[in-house]
Structures are given as structure tokens and as C-alpha cells.
């Protein structure tokens, strides 16, 4: 009977600090945890008493990778609380900006964090020598994504000109035209990305779970909408707690969530499973090329779903720019609050899944805040995946098992420093 101990102290190529601890004694799985050992950050305490205009600037610092996502969800929460209706131009610019972040984060994840595993190297650095064209492509795509964000909000980490009700700076039409041309040109890079992923051999591991994502009419939703579940049912954003049901587990400084089953998944694969029919036709074709059809239940394929979103966001960004070019850019003042006291929830599909910000504001100062982060929602699901995976691979070497587990954790693209920003922490 197998006895096995896995102890990966700080999983690499993920954002933040987490450990994998597995203990199998005589074929019995005693322990199989993803421990989150990030330091607590107290964001909600730090927000307390600050002017509402600070919230998006402060919370974008929860995470360097999904800073635009945090800022967007934060602004939406504030706007709901203070009765602000942003202009159509603001909505378009925010969507475009958001695509920049999705592209940036997905490229980073696919090429720099995941691909090395499949190409048998420890990081993108040796890859730069063995496959320079792949790395240069990744850098080129990332640069475009970053430039897109920079044109709209100043920089990707941490956005500057996004504010409650609108923007404090606007891209010129000329900049938009340049970006459009570069996006069109990057279709070739998108195709190459799909080709790269089509050539990878993803581990065959399937576990059906509940998939949760935002849903909004006919669009492949990234901002606002309602909460949708693959197990059925829709919830308004204000009722997010009915979905997230946070619980405390002793081995993690991040809370776990559960909805209709023991766990659920958010992120690119969940979005794909729920909103597949709203993808841009080119993205749908890409999914087909990758052999993806809803519902996909292999978590290792999150990277593939991300690649599909790369195609979608590139195409949608081109369309959004066309709309903006047609409307012309107005240098408008941000829409003003209609009240200074209120409560609101904002939500967005950031690269790793659904993000909720919930604020209470009194006389322009924040008095209460809650943020629920995608990685926090995925943690329980990752652990259940791990627990399902380990028994099926006990015949392999310890190294292989460790790698399979690390790859599984990495597949979720966990953003650990986000997930612990304020939750109950215990150190094992």
C-alpha cells in the first residue's frame, strides 16, 4: 500500500504564497490541502473611514495582476451605492480596458506560468533560448495588452484615470486607431496561441462541479450582469452572499466558498461553460479547434478556455474601438454622485473569475466593505480536485505526483495574495 508525503513549500509560478500538503498512509488519503500562507492585509479595515474616491485606488492594490478588475468592481460598487450612472462612453471604455487586463493576465498565465510545465522547463527563461519565437510572441501580445490599458487608464498595474462616474483622461482617436491596427495584426498571434495549445497534451482528468459566472443578455459578460450557475438558477448581484456562502477552514488564510455542491468553480472555464454561445465567432472557432465544447469538466483545460477568451477579447476590443471611433471621444466630466450615503455591490469577471466588491458609504466616507475574490471561491474546488486526483495517480513516482498537483493548482491561475486580503488566517 502506498505511503506518500507531498510538501510543496510555496507553489511557484503563481501569484502569492501557497503550500500543497498531501499525506497518504497505506493507500488512505489522510490529508490533501492547499494551504494559503499569505500574510493578512486588512484591506477592509484600511478602507474604513476613507473618502469614497480612494476605494478603487486602494483596492487595485489588492492585486498587481487584476488591478483593473478590482478597480472596476470597486467603482461599480461605489456607483451603485451613490446612485451614479456612468455615460455610454465610460461603459465602452471600461469594457475595452477590461479586455486589456484579461489579455495581459491570460497571456502571462498561458505562456509564462503554464507552458513551461508542458514544454518541460522550469520557467520562461530557458524557453527564451530554446523557443525564442514563442517567448517573443508572448511578450509582444502582453505589450499590446499593457499598451491598451495604458492608453485608457494610464497603466495596467495600478490604473490611474478610472474614477467614480468616468475617467479623468481620454485616449486620442489616433491612439485608438493605432491600437486597432495592432489588435488586427495580433490575430496572427492569437492563431499561433491556439495552435500552441492545440499541440499540448493536457492531463486527462475530469471532475464535474458547479460552474458560476456572471451573465448579461447577449454579451459574453465581464462587467455587471447577474450571477448564473451551471446547476441552474440566477441571482442578483446584491444577493451574492447566497452564492458565495463563505466558510472558514483552519488550514487556509483564505475563506472557502460553497454553493449548491461542496464547491464551485469560477474563471475562464466557468465562463466558457456558461456563456459559450455569446463568444465571438472567431473565438467559437478557436474553441472548436481546441476540441472544447461545453461543458468542459477537466480543470487542466482552464488554460485552453483562457486562449479562447484571448481570441474573443481581441475581437471584441476591435469592435469596441470601432464603436468609439464612430462616436468620437468626448472629454466628459465623470458623472456625479446623486447621494453621499448608500450601499452597493459591484461585480466583474476578472481573469480568475467572479469578483464582488460591496461597500457601505456614509457622508462620502466608507464605513463598511467586503470583497469576495475569485481565488477564494476556487480554493475549495481545487482541494476537491486534488483529492479526486491523488487516488488515481498513486501508482506514479512522488515527483510525478507532485508535478501533477502543482500543475493542477497552477491551472487555476490562483491569485493568492488577493484571496487572503482580509480573511481568517491560521498558520499550520
Amino acid at each position: 500500500m502506498t505511503t506518500l508525503k507531498v510538501d510543496v513549500h510555496h507553489v511557484t509560478r503563481v501569484e502569492g504564497h501557497g503550500n500543497i500538503v498531501v499525506d497518504v498512509q497505506n493507500g488512505v488519503l489522510k490529508q490533501c490541502d492547499l494551504q494559503i500562507v499569505e500574510t493578512p492585509r486588512f484591506f477592509e479595515a484600511m478602507l474604513r473611514g476613507r473618502p469614497y474616491l480612494d476605494a478603487s485606488h486602494l483596492t487595485s492594490r489588492i492585486c498587481g495582476i487584476c488591478a483593473v478588475g478590482h478597480a472596476t468592481a470597486s467603482l461599480r460598487a461605489t456607483e451603485q451605492a451613490l446612485g451614479v450612472t456612468p455615460s455610454p462612453q465610460t461603459t465602452l471604455l471600461r469594457k475595452l480596458n477590461f479586455h486589456g487586463e484579461i489579455l495581459d493576465s491570460h497571456i502571462l498565465h498561458i505562456y509564462m506560468l503554464v507552458a513551461p510545465d508542458y514544454l518541460g522547463v522550469g520557467s520562461v527563461i530557458p524557453l527564451a533560448q530554446s523557443a525564442p519565437d514563442v517567448v517573443l510572441r508572448a511578450l509582444r501580445m502582453k505589450q499590446l495588452a499593457g499598451d491598451l490599458c495604458a492608453a485608457i487608464c494610464g497603466r495596467h498595474t495600478h490604473p490611474i484615470s478610472m474614477t467614480v462616474g468616468g475617467f479623468t483622461h481620454f485616449p486620442s482617436l489616433e491612439t485608438l486607431r493605432e491600437l486597432r491596427a495592432r489588435l488586427v495584426a495580433s490575430r496572427a498571434d492569437c492563431d499561433a496561441t491556439i495552435e500552441l495549445l492545440a499541440g499540448l497534451e493536457f492531463p486527462r482528468f475530469e471532475r464535474d462541479t458547479e460552474y458560476v459566472a456572471l451573465h448579461k443578455g447577449e454579451e459574453y459578460c465581464f462587467i455587471d450582469g447577474v450571477i448564473d450557475s451551471s446547476d441552474g438558477g440566477r441571482w442578483d448581484l446584491e444577493d451574492y452572499r447566497l452564492v458565495t456562502n463563505e466558510t472558514i477552514v483552519p488550514h487556509s488564510s483564505a475563506k472557502h466558498t460553497r454553493h449548491q455542491r461542496d464547491s464551485y468553480m469560477v474563471g475562464a472555464l466557468a465562463r466558457f461553460n456558461i456563456n459559450h454561445d455569446k463568444l465571438h465567432p472567431r473565438a467559437r472557432a478557436a474553441a472548436e479547434a481546441l476540441g472544447l465544447a461545453p461543458k468542459v469538466i477537466n480543470p487542466y483545460l482552464i488554460a485552453a478556455a483562457q486562449a479562447v477568451e484571448v481570441v474573443h477579447c481581441t475581437e471584441d476590443a476591435i469592435q469596441l474601438i470601432d464603436q468609439l471611433l464612430e462616436m468620437g471621444i468626448r472629454h466628459e466630466e465623470p458623472a456625479a454622485p446623486t447621494r453621499l450615503t448608500g450601499e452597493g455591490v459591484g461585480a466583474a469577471e476578472v481573469p480568475r473569475g467572479t469578483l464582488f466588491h460591496h461597500y457601505q458609504i456614509e457622508d462620502g466616507a466608507i464605513v463598511g466593505a467586503n470583497c469576495i475574490i475569485p481565488t477564494g471561491q476556487n480554493l475549495a474546488n481545487i482541494e476537491l480536485d486534488m483529492r479526486a486526483l491523488v487516488p488515481t495517480i498513486l501508482d506514479r513516482s512522488q515527483e510525478d505526483i507532485t508535478l501533477a498537483l502543482e500543475m493542477l493548482v497552477r491551472a487555476y491561475d490562483p491569485c493568492i495574495s488577493c484571496s487572503t486580503h482580509m480573511l481568517n488566517v491560521r498558520f499550520v
Partner: protein
Amino acid sequence: MKPKVAFFEFTSCEGCQLTVLDTLQRHPELLEVIEIVQFREAMSERGEDYQIAFIEGSCTRPSDEAKIREIREQAQIVVALGACAHLGGINAIRNRMPLEQTREYVYGDKKDWFETYPARPLSAVIEVDAVIPGCPIDRKEFATAVTHLLQGRKPAIPDYPLCIDCKLTENVCMFLRGQTCLGPVTRAGCEAICPAQGQGCEGCRGLIPSPNMHSIKQALREHGMTEDQIAAKLSLFLTYQTMQLEGVTPA
């Protein structure tokens, strides 16, 4: 011989390390001139033999001090990367609030489950040789800092106020736009990206060596800010520094 370089992070959002990765977009030759032996966010390889350590993040718990000292022992040069490491960053906002109250507010009856203490910059724990300021750091400044290290000197950063950068880029001053800005007391070097984007400087690069605090407060007051708003503005990134200037220790 390429210098061996390692990256570490403590309490932070990892945005500065991400910016380091982004630097590669314009400077792929970076990989030719330094050898990165450790960078957990981006690589699995791990070498303990390094001469230059870039450390991101604040120290927010006593148990991190040992690791930070260990890095200091090994590295010939330690560079604080970004506002958290340089200033305590936003992590220090809570330093003005009673620690127990903060813990309780966030963790309720589980407040003793974890370890924490007032956030501090690296320089409060070890001697730091150089700083790359900013939240996040500026890519160009990072590349320049590496150039200086390769030249065998400590990275030089501006010690004059942001207004200089701001006027070199010909921004219309936020004060003249009816808004407020910490530019006159904040270290330059970011090309005044926030004023250029229509937002007053928030002070993420830290105070200049001799800031005129009473005069900046007066300017903020004249532009309609209440004392609370002024305190909020000066505490986003500058809590640790202003508390030091005032000689106040965290509660």
C-alpha cells in the same frame, strides 16, 4: 560574469515583480546581462547563490524578519522594490489605527489565529542599499537601476519633487484645475504619470528629503480639503514616513 539576481516578496500585491516581467517586453536583453536565479512568481528554478536581491513588499509580521535578514546576509546588494518595501506602502495605513481594533474588526473572535504587527519598510528591518520607488515601480526606472548596478554603482533616484517632472511634461497643474496634489513633497521619477492622467499625485514614491509639510497642508486646505481629507491623502502611501516625521509610534 553576469551578476546573479534573486527576487523575493513579502506583504505586497506582486505588482512590482509583474512590472519587472513587463520590463522584458521592451528589454529582452535583460536576460543576457543578469542571471535570475530565483523569482517564485515566474519560475520554478531556485538558486540560493545570488549577489543582488530585489525585495518587494513590507514586513508585516515578526516571523518574516528572519527570512529578510537571511537575504541580507547572502546578498551584496539589497534593493527595495516598490512602495511597500520602500515606505511600508499602503500596508502601513493601518499603523495609525490601534492594532487590536484592526485585528478584531477584520477577524472578529478569530483575531488571534494569525500573526501580524505594524507594517514597516524593509529599511526598518535591515540595511537597504538602494530603492526603486513607486506603486508600482516604473519599468524604465527598473531598467536604469539594473544599468547602474551593472556599472558598479548604487542606483540613483531623483531627490527632487514631482512638480519638476510634471512641468517637464507640461501638465496643467492639478491645483489650477481645482484639484489637489502631493507633487510638491513627493519624490519625482515617474514622469508625473498621475497628473498626466488627470489625478493628483498620491505620494507613492515617498516624500522628498526635506518636505515642507506645513506648507503642503496649507495648500490642500486652501483647495477645499478638510483636515480628515488631508489626513487621508497623506496616509495612503505616506503613513510610515509621516508618523516618523511626527515622532509617533504605531499603537
